[in-house]
Amino acid sequence: MRTLLRPALVALLVLSLITGVVYPAAITGVSAVLFPREAGGSRLLAGDTLLGSALIGQGFTEPGYFWSRPSATGPVAYNGAVSGGSNLGPSNPALHEAIAARVAALRAADPGRTDPVPVDLVTASGSGLDPHITPAAAAYQVPRVSRARGVSEDSVRTLVAGSTEGRQFGVLGEPRVNVLRLNLALDGLTPAP
């Protein structure tokens, strides 16, 4: 056993050095050269002000902004410091109540609407930081946003189209709209509400 203890300890040290120090350091170094923007979190900047990340969603409640998906992070929605989903089970009454309340809130902000609400707009994402909504959820919100901002629905739809990504390579994933980018574009069209 003594003859095995030394190799065991040394193997752990040597492999720790290679895989725990050299490897991450090399990846960090090469990434900083090849993909500096991506490695640093795909930041959105206005001058020196950090507005957020193109990959991390933010919460919106004003009628003049497109709303992101519900977020289960605490203590506030879209808390980047602690990601998390609701973990509510499919049969949990708390889930059904939360969804009914979100449907009611969307309809209260847009009186007269009775059409079904796209599912992603009333369900909490897995990360609590989902930057996207579906094109259906964006289309659902166009009338409210255009009324609140006093601009035509067509000009809002043009902005939505500009923030929409299709399936990657035409196959992978699902079509999606980046909410933060879209709302920043809206603020470029008319002043923030």
């Binding site: 990846i27 960090t28 090849l34 930041r43 193109a54 410091a81 990601s83 969804i99 609400v117 599912v119």
Partner: protein, 580 residues
């Protein structure tokens, strides 16, 4: 299922199976010590490692010595990860100022990473320093995976050799697996992931100004923290090594861990890549590649059969949500389905595929919250873990688990026709059967006993988050995951309590090493045997008939053991939800 869903699933299976032969053949050359592509560049480093270790690379070991080396190495790894967590507050590379991890959680996490489980009783971005992540967890991601592959290779040698006690050297198998297989693949994958937006930075967390302030007027929040860290390098190996422990709390659902559908595809592919390719490696090592393809075929059949109903279950939506005035139907503008706990960029198809792949392999990373899956969508992943993580399974551990089932299968077939069972030219006798039975029964026993203990104690029930049968599913899922070294969770369960941290830690340790040691014992016993020539009474183990027999054995053991438990959890929940 939509046309695009079929296309995505077919593309995934196609690319995966196309890579089996090239990668599998390469890995066989690595373990056989034959010349290969990387030997010229990495060879000097390999030899330098042996010099530091003070070992002779050609000195082979008996199964007992092989097991002892492996246990000592894993024990040292356990201590290192535990101590790193307990002292991280005093160590460098801790820009967020993380304090020492409490003892129970540190114990659980150390066992978790050494046993290739990567159950997370902690939240990455809120608990661990960069140093602990890199030097503790990333290292174990590599070496626990290399350890699993080493045991598989030792078993293959036990089958292919005869009348010898030697199974190879643990040190060379460990070093070669790490340097030639895991490290190069991880490097390529990590850089591809960074190109998609996975963060890889040693900067401290960044603070952004929110476009619209959040929270009530009394506690206005105007900024958002953007977490940073050397994530891509760890994520690459956590996928490739069937580890699964995320850099961030929500694992690959986090947009910084898995930002695009392409990063998702790459990570998905990495889950099953090495486990599937090892089937071909095994075929080469025992000098009959048909044997490897047969095992791969059995795995692929079970995988596909459980994948399709999971996608359908997630796409179906749920009656109470429909009644609330919600559109869950797939259409041109949305994929629809059950979106609670899922990300828009992945939708139901990629999320369901991930859930099945991550539980078929003992990976355990997630890109959606399994706790919020539909009852049946959660049942199939749970059952895949309970089958023993052998449908592709963990790197190395999946295939050696499958080989134990192959041994049981030839034994059962032998009983049916009254012949002495043989597998690949070796007689299967009482000793092999005892060891194979131990390795198959121990994880199953652990799942059932630990679940029973948890539901009958107050401290076990206190962690349950969801009411009704789903709460029972949370406990059953937790121990199915830990005892089989998967690591995924129904995340609502409060797994950070001392009860779950300690009981789960013990389950993970036993689930790993009480399977691995009997496997090495089988390898040692088979190596000593004479080779028996193929006769008219030999059951061929490379035929469709054997695939059917093998699947039958797996399903029989898995169904008899776990259907009662599953009936109390997801099946009852499904009936309740859809009977309304």
């Amino acid at each position: 299922m939509t046309a695009n869903a079929w296309l995505q699933l077919a593309l995934y299976m196609g690319v995966l199976l196309a890579l089996v032969k090239p990668l599998g053949g390469f890995m066989a050359r690595v373990y056989e010590g034959e010349p290969h592509l990387l030997a010229r560049w990495v060879g000097p480093l390999e030899r330098f490692c042996y010099r530091l270790l003070g070992v002779d690379a050609t000195e082979e070991m008996t199964w007992q010595r092989y097991a002892m080396a492996l246990l000592l190495f894993s024990g040292c790894g356990f201590l290192a990860v535990y101590l790193l967590q307990r002292t991280q507050g005093m160590l460098p590379l801790n820009p967020a100022g993380m304090a020492a991890v409490p003892p129970a959680v540190a114990f659980n996490t150390a066992v978790s990473f050494v046993s290739n489980t990567n159950w997370q009783a902690y939240g990455g971005e809120a608990t661990l320093s960069y140093l602990t992540q890199a030097l503790g967890l990333t290292v174990q991601n590599f070496v626990s995976a290399a350890t699993g592959m080493a045991v598989l290779v030792a078993l293959a040698r036990g089958i292919s050799r005869h009348e010898t006690a030697k199974l190879g050297s643990f040190w060379t198998d460990l070093v070669r697996g790490t340097l030639y297989i895991l490290l190069p693949l991880s490097t390529v994958l990590a850089l591809l992931l960074v190109s998609q937006g996975v963060v890889q930075s040693l900067e401290p967390y960044q603070t952004a100004t929110l476009l619209e302030a959040a929270g009530p007027d009394s506690a206005r929040v105007t900024t958002q923290v953007l977490p940073m860290g050397p994530a891509a390098s760890q994520i690459a190996i956590k996928q490739l090594g069937t580890n699964g422990g995320g850099f961030f709390n929500v694992n690959s659902a986090h947009p910084f861990e898995n930002p695009t559908p392409f990063s998702n595809f790459l990570q998905l592919l990495s889950i099953l890549l090495i486990p599937a390719a090892l089937c071909y490696t095994f075929g080469q090592l025992v000098r009959d590649t048909r044997q490897g393809w047969t095992l791969l075929a059995a795995m692929t059949v079970v995988f596909t059969a459980l994948l399709l109903p999971t996608v359908l279950a997630e796409q179906a939506g749920s009656p109470p949500i429909l009644a609330a005035g919600v559109d869950q139907a797939a259409g041109p503008l949305q994929a629809g389905g059950n979106m609670e706990g899922k990300e828009v960029r992945f939708g139901v198809t990629s999320s369901a595929l991930w859930a099945i792949a991550t539980t078929a392999a003992s990976n355990g990373s997630v890109n959606a919250m399994h706790d919020s899956f539909s009852p049946l969508g959660g049942l199939f992943p749970m059952w895949l873990m309970q089958l023993g993580e052998i449908i592709y399974g963990g790197v190395g551990s999946g295939l050696y688990g499958m080989l134990l089932f192959a041994i049981v299968t030839v034994f059962i077939a032998g009983l049916m026709v009254g012949r002495t069972p043989e597998y690949l030219g070796k007689k299967i006798e009482a000793y092999e059967m005892k060891m194979a039975s131990l390795a198959i029964l121990i994880p199953n026993l652990l799942v059932l006993i630990c679940t029973a203990v948890a539901v009958s104690t107050a401290s076990g029930r206190a962690s349950v988050f969801n009411p009704g049968p789903h709460g029972f599913s949370e406990i059953l899922y937790a121990f199915s995951s830990m005892a089989n070294n998967n690591g995924s969770a129904f995340g609502g369960l409060g797994a950070g309590t001392t009860f779950y941290a300690v009981l789960g830690g013990v389950a993970m340790w036993l689930g790993r090493f009480w399977v691995l040691i009997p496997t090495l014992a089988v390898a040692g016993s088979l190596a000593r045997k004479k080779r028996v020539p193929v006769g008219s009474g030999t059951l061929p183990t490379h035929t469709p008939l054997f695939v059917v027999l093998l699947i039958g054995t797996i399903v029989l053991v898995g169904a008899l053991t776990h259907l009662p438990g599953l009936a109390l959890g997801p099946i009852v929940e499904h009936l309740q939800l859809f009977a309304r």
